[in-house]
């Protein structure tokens, strides 16, 4: 079974999967949609109460949660929509002051 990581726009037709099927879970992670971002949210740890109210509202699952605590943004995938900034009741997420 061919892996998505081996499929790209250089492979010959013989190697494209039958019917363009994919046989693995979650291969979209290979696409780094973080490149789309024009603005970047920043997590201010000191202000964070770990209420997790930001996490379910990220359309890009880019607020990783482990053992009930959120971690640093997954900037490989965060598209910078800013929903999390407005979701946070404690102002613990702000726009990064980019140059």
């Amino acid at each position: 079974m061919k892996k998505a990581a081996e499929i790209n726009e250089q492979i010959p037709w013989q190697e494209v999967t039958v019917g363009c099927e994919i046989y693995e879970p979650g291969t979209s992670r290979l696409t780094k949609t973080g490149e789309w971002r024009s603005r970047t949210p920043e997590w201010i740890r000191e202000k964070c109460k770990q209420c997790l109210l930001c996490a379910p509202f990220c359309p890009d699952a880019s607020i990783p949660v482990e053992d009930g605590k959120r971690g640093e943004f997954d900037y490989d995938h965060c598209k910078g929509c800013g929903i999390c900034i407005k979701a946070c009741p404690f102002n613990a997420i702000t726009w990064r002051e980019d140059a």
């Binding site: 037709w13 039958v18 019917g19 099927e21 994919i22 046989y23």
Partner: protein
């Protein structure tokens, strides 16, 4: 041991389905294919099959449900005709490009309008480029036999394409003829089980079907699909060889009838071939070198093989039982003429559109075609290449 029976084409298909016992049958009624799901519903009601039988709300949905079931890991079937097949159009292409080997029985019927329930190939010919394999039959026996071979061809790993088993509406679907049926166990053994490597309900790994394909992949996917259709040629012959070994009846891409030394030939499909064969026999008795080729496999089209058979002829009439409105002849003519173009010595070739919406085709009419071919062979003049036959004229 074969069982002698008397069945209509529809009942022959339903019987084959019962013997195969598909996993899912999604149905929607339309004349003249309706009897197929009706017979099958009774098999379900009587416990003769353990198929999941779903009565959906349209043909678009019946084929869509088959796609879902097939992708989920099941053998799925349905049947339709005419407008029902047209309504499936979009999903036919999806079935083929998703490489889901659904088997679809088609009782071929005219398309509207005016609305008409009788036979011609307007419906199936309109779907000739959908990516389905298409098998045609002259009579009930051939319909039954084609159906027994259908799943093995469609599901073969080198093919994985959906397939239409076509019969002539009413003429074949409803006429009761003698037929040799095979034993249930022998059919089951011949057809085998369907066990795809990947399917939606597989536990070990998920399967994702039906992506958006950017131009970086679309061309490659289509070329792969085109090759699958080319691969189908060998598989069709292999399955036919095994069928002959198992059940004794022989099938190829087409049937050559008295073609050995034929100078005048007809290329024709379905039940009309039976009528034309009677004309050929009469003409042969009179010393005319007449023959005919009856196309069984229209998709994939056996162009090279057909050209070879026609190469010795002086004049050929292609008999189209559908009107493509190309103003240049019907679909069978386009295929046949194209196939013969590169022959060193090619016959003169005309197209005759006939039998639309159930218009009769008689032995006399067939003889008149050979009369025209004889004149073409003698004079070298084809006259109009594209004509209609059987209509009233002012």
């Amino acid at each position: 041991m074969s069982i002698r029976e008397r069945l209509s084409g529809n009942e022959a298909i339903a019987t084959a389905m019962r013997q195969i016992n598909p996993d899912v049958f999604a149905m929607f009624p339309i004349t003249p294919s309706t009897e197929i799901p009706q017979y099958f519903a009774q098999y379900v009601a009587d416990g003769k099959v353990d198929t999941e039988f779903i009565c959906v709300e349209s043909e678009h949905s019946s084929l869509s449900a088959c796609l879902g079931a097939e992708a989920a890991g099941c053998r799925a079937v349905t049947a339709t005709s005419s407008a029902g097949l047209s309504f499936m159009n979009e999903v036919l292409y999806v079935a083929a490009s998703s490489r889901l080997p659904v088997v679809l029985a088609v009782s071929c019927r005219a398309l509207t309008g005016p609305i008409n329930i009788n036979h011609d190939y307007s419906d199936s010919m309109a779907e000739r480029d959908s990516g389905f394999i298409q098998l045609y039959a002259e009579n009930n026996q051939e319909v039954y036999d084609n159906y027994l071979m259908a799943h093995r061809i469609a599901e073969h790993p080198d093919v994985r394409l959906p397939l239409m088993v076509c019969e002539d509406g009413f003429i074949t679907s409803h006429a009761i003829e003698n037929i040799e049926l095979e034993e249930d166990a022998a059919v089951k053994a011949f057809v085998g089980e369907y066990r795809p490597e990947n399917y939606l309900l597989k536990k070990e790994n998920p399967l994702a079907v039906g992506p958006y394909g950017v131009s970086g992949y679309y061309m490659e996917a289509r070329v792969a699909q085109a090759h699958a259709m080319m691969n189908a040629k060998k598989v069709i012959l292999d399955v036919a060889a095994d069928f002959e070994k198992t059940f004794g009846r022989s099938y190829g891409f087409f049937e050559s009838y008295r073609m050995e030394d034929a100078e005048l030939a007809m290329v024709i499909m379905g039940s009309s071939a039976g009528t034309a064969k009677a004309a050929v026999d009469e003409l042969r008795a009179e010393g005319v070198k007449a023959g005919l080729v009856k196309i069984r496999v229209f998709r994939p089209f056996p162009g090279e093989e057909l050209a070879q058979v026609l190469s010795g002829c002086k004049a050929v009439a292609v008999m189209d039982k559908s009107e493509g409105f190309s103003a240049n002849g019907g679909p069978l003519y386009a295929e046949t003429a194209g196939a013969c173009f590169n022959l060193e010595q090619r016959p003169k070739m005309v197209d005759i559109v006939f039998g639309l919406g159930g218009r009769d085709f008689t032995v006399e009419a067939a003889r008149s075609v050979y009369g025209r071919l004889e004149q073409i062979a003698r004079t070298g003049e084809t006259g109009p290449l594209y004509t209609h036959m059987g209509q009233r004229e002012a």
